[in-house]
């Protein structure tokens, strides 16, 4: 992904392949992308795709 400086502009962000997740430990819902998702709130790897 190309981002720019301290305020990156990655353009058409809607086309990024992010997925919704829900943490099975703390219930946090978040969007993420990448191969090894984990909860950004409690750091648990026990997450499930939610959509």
């Amino acid at each position: 992904m190309c981002t720019v400086g301290g305020g990156p502009d990655i353009g058409d962000v809607e086309s990024l392949a992010s997925k919704g997740y829900i943490c099975q430990d703390c219930g946090n819902k978040f969007k993420g992308m990448g191969r090894r998702p984990r909860c950004p709130s409690c750091q648990s790897r026990n997450v499930k795709a939610s959509e």
């Binding site: 992904m1 190309c2 981002t3 720019v4 400086g5 301290g6 305020g7 990156p8 502009d9 990655i10 353009g11 058409d12 962000v13 086309s15 990024l16 992010s18 978040f30 969007k31 993420g32 992308m33 990448g34 191969r35 090894r36 998702p37 984990r38 950004p40």
Partner: protein, 151 residues
């Protein structure tokens, strides 16, 4: 060429018209902040943060190191500007995150969301930076490589 890279090191690919820098992500995740949502970008231990600038010399290397330090060590979020925002043309460093980065010089900075493409100067066209255990493999680059401590 293979570039061994310790967890606390930064490597610079020094060209005549631009500079690139790479550090390991150490498996950290990073926040992409758009106008409406927050996306967490997850990485593997051996993935790389790669930064590119159209400048050379000490100032360019310091700028790249600061950019990568802020992102990795300070967990600075990546603020996504709306397309066409006037701030885009003021910014002088581009960053890629992942296991592979390809440099292209015929694209407009910040306008391509493909994960493995980064803009750079013409001399870096075709350069590929691929993560590997303990460092990076850099293809199609024959210039000078410098390394130093990032932290």
């Amino acid at each position: 060429m293979n570039i061994p890279l310790a967890d606390d090191e930064i490597a610079y690919l020094c060209g005549r018209t631009g500079t690139m820098a790479l550090v390991k992500t150490l498996g950290h995740f990073f926040y992409l902040e758009t106008e409406t949502e927050e996306i967490s970008l997850f990485t593997d231990e051996d993935d790389l943060l790669v930064a590119s600038t159209f400048e050379v010399g000490d100032a360019a290397r310091r700028g790249l190191a600061c950019t990568l330090y802020m992102i990795r060590e300070m967990n600075s979020p990546l603020i996504v500007l709306p397309k066409g925002h006037p701030a885009s043309r003021r910014l002088r460093t581009v960053v890629s995150v992942g296991d592979k980065t390809r440099i292209k010089c015929d694209i407009q900075a910040g306008t391509h969301p493909e994960q493995d493409v980064l803009c750079g100067t013409k001399e870096f066209e075709g350069v590929e930076v691929i993560s590997m255990p303990g460092g990076a493999e850099v293809k199609k680059f024959a210039g000078e490589v410098l390394k130093e401590k990032l932290v």
